[in-house]
């Protein structure tokens, strides 16, 4: 148990105030990774009312895709290469594309092999949920057998360096890239769902699958595209995650982040793209505030208490659920 000199919970308002801006900056950057992963949960939920618990492994597969691309490009664990910025950007983009492809492909494959057969047999929802959890374990163990249980050696192409400060809180190049790129990815996804023809199909299936089918929407195709988009976003998240946490490529590394991202999706309103973004960012900063205020061992508890409190007053999350009704 804790040392007798140490209280079981802190209430350090001074630290919270002192660290407010730093916590906000760090929380927004890390929260945007939550948000990108949360989008995958929310998209699938919107269309299938399925909580795809295996999405955390789709994410970690993307992380491995990025990592293995680094290896294939000739980078070695340990030393930080001293390359011109242009090369680094090209390498990062390349690795990100591979990560997107790996995650997207894995998500579609998962849908085909695990969920579609269940749908054919009109399985109850519970069967989907349990299959999702099972698929999560299977993928995790496959990665473990393949790559071992130790984290991959650190390869970091772009070390963080402060660019400017906000009220004394340093903002690093990495954080700016991740935050802005995540926002951009969100807008692409949001525009895709709300403006494109395929997106209209997704919304139609989310609203009423039977009627949508009668109106000529190919439901299976919509489902495939939904998984693909969710997977691709997870691949982007994988790149940003590995840039932030170079030790992140480990077989069970997606588990905790996946649960947090799922929490973010529910917090913002599952099934709602904007809710996923908002939920991710809120969760990112709330975790940091909570740690400063109550102590680091309260990190996860803060996230879930926040979820419980929000659901008590807004049972469908902050922005409400439903992909179909989230039209601008």
């Amino acid at each position: 148990m804790a040392a007798s000199t140490e209280p079981w919970i802190n209430f350090d308002v001074g630290l919270l105030i002192d660290r407010f801006w730093a916590n906000t900056v760090n929380g927004l950057a890390y929260g945007s990774i939550y948000a990108l992963v949360a989008l995958g949960y929310t998209l699938v939920y919107g269309v299938l009312q399925l909580i795809n618990f295996a999405h955390s492994e789709i994410f970690i597969l993307g992380v491995f895709g990025v990592y293995l691309t680094f290896l294939a490009l000739g980078f070695e664990p340990g030393a930080i290469p001293d390359l011109p910025l242009g090369f680094i950007i090209v390498d990062l983009v390349l690795a990100g594309l591979v990560g997107m492809a790996v995650s997207g492909f894995a998500a579609v494959l998962l849908e085909r092999t695990a969920y579609r057969p269940l749908r054919r047999r009109n399985a109850p929802r519970l069967a989907f949920l349990i299959t999702a959890i099972g698929a999560s374990f299977v993928l995790q163990q496959v990665i473990r057998i393949w790559r071992g249980s130790n984290p991959e050696g650190t390869i970091r192409l772009l070390p963080p360096s402060p660019v400017f400060t906000i009220f004394g809180a340093p903002v690093t190049n990495l954080q700016i890239i991740i935050f802005l790129a995540s926002l951009a990815m969100f807008f692409v996804a949001d525009t895709f769902v709300n403006r494109s023809r395929l997106g209209r199909g997704i919304r139609a299936v989310a609203q009423d699958p039977n009627t949508a089918t009668l109106m000529g929407v190919n439901r299976e195709r919509v489902i495939t595209i939904t998984f693909l988009v969710g997977g691709v976003l997870a691949g982007v998240a994988g790149l940003f995650y590995l840039m932030t946490i170079p030790q992140g490529a480990v077989y069970n590394g997606g588990f905790l982040l996946g649960i947090k991202a799922f929490t973010a999706a529910v917090l913002g309103g599952i099934g709602n793209l904007r809710g996923a973004l908002l939920g991710g960012l809120i969760l990112g900063v709330a975790e940091n505030y909570g740690q400063s205020l109550f102590g680091g061992d309260w990190r996860d508890i803060v996230a879930f208490v926040l979820l419980v409190v929000v659901l008590m007053f807004r049972p469908t999350g902050i922005l409400g659920e439903s992909l179909a009704r989230s039209r601008a």
């Binding site: 618990f53 929802r125 984290p151 030790q247 588990f255």
Partner: protein, 399 residues
Amino acid sequence: MIRRRLAAAGALVAAVALVLSGCANQGGGQQQGGGPQAGAPSQPTDAVLPAGDGQGRCAPGTSIAYTGTIAGQNAALGIAIVNAVQLAVDQHNAANPNCQVTLVRADTGGTPDTAVGPVTAVINNPQVLGIVGLPFSGESRAVGPALNAAGLVNITPSATNPALSTNGWTNFFRGLGNDAVQGPAIARYIQQRLNAQNVCVIKDDSDYGIGLAQQVTQALGPAATCQADVRTNQREFSAVIGQVQQANPQAIFYSGYYQEASPLVQQLRDAGVQTPFIGPDGVKDEQFVVNAAGAADGALLSCPCVPQEGFTDFTNAYRQAFGVPPQTYSAEGYDATTILLQGIDRGAADRAALLNFVRSYNGQGLTKRFQWSPTGELTQTPVYMYRVQGNQIVTDSQI
């Protein structure tokens, strides 16, 4: 409505899963390379070795078991031990044609919640007379009562939580100094050698991390000016680092395992905190150095393990068998196995006899002299400080 309920059920599953994962994972890890260094002892001339006198006789099928992490979290530590156990058994069997001992490998996954099943299987295997393990404190506490009830002798090569020997278990033996020895030694080093009077103690949420942090904090007294906590599997530490920056300490002690320590030390250095970083045996692993990249350079790592580079016969045989140098607690695992094999060679044919043999054992091993108190603590408990130099963990000094 169904959607909402499903989402709520999902949140519940997620919360339960998170709590379970939080309970997971305790231990210590490590490794060293390179040739002999200052402070590393050489092989004692009277050390008892697994081969014994070659006159051992035992029934066919006689077994001992390694129970501990092999593929679970912080697996590097478990592999370092099980390899050494295997080496000892192989050397014994080669030298004793009339006593062929089988090694049973039981992978506990390294966590209290996954250890029970494999350990029960070992208990139910009547041919297993003794156990080397368990390596981690949390899992040791979880399965200790069952092992004690089975009267199955177990020698842990690395679990250091002091409370393990206070449960009245008559079959528990610790092959190294516990954290009540390591903790004050670390505190002394920080205060006297580093001259730091303002120390941040950061701990994880494992039995091991919490117990050791308490020992160090107590020994530091008023010098332990800030306390911070991290969670198992946490990878993003900006809030904790903020707390450290605010306290502006002269030294940081991290009480936990390498999986969290490597991102933590990297993020500390990235944030511009250049304060000396001290970790315990749970961080002393090559994985720490590899994963922290350059950020681990200069970190100090304490360990109740004895430097192995001077035990050249052992290190050469290990390297030949497994292609890598022995790592943290390999020699301790080798010594523990030797003791069990000695008992079997001397005619201990059931669990009770082997337990009695270990209880009254008094002999020299590679790492130290082994003789236990009634609670299973050693009388000799050396603690060493190691240092990360470039990409290697080198011996600093005995502390």
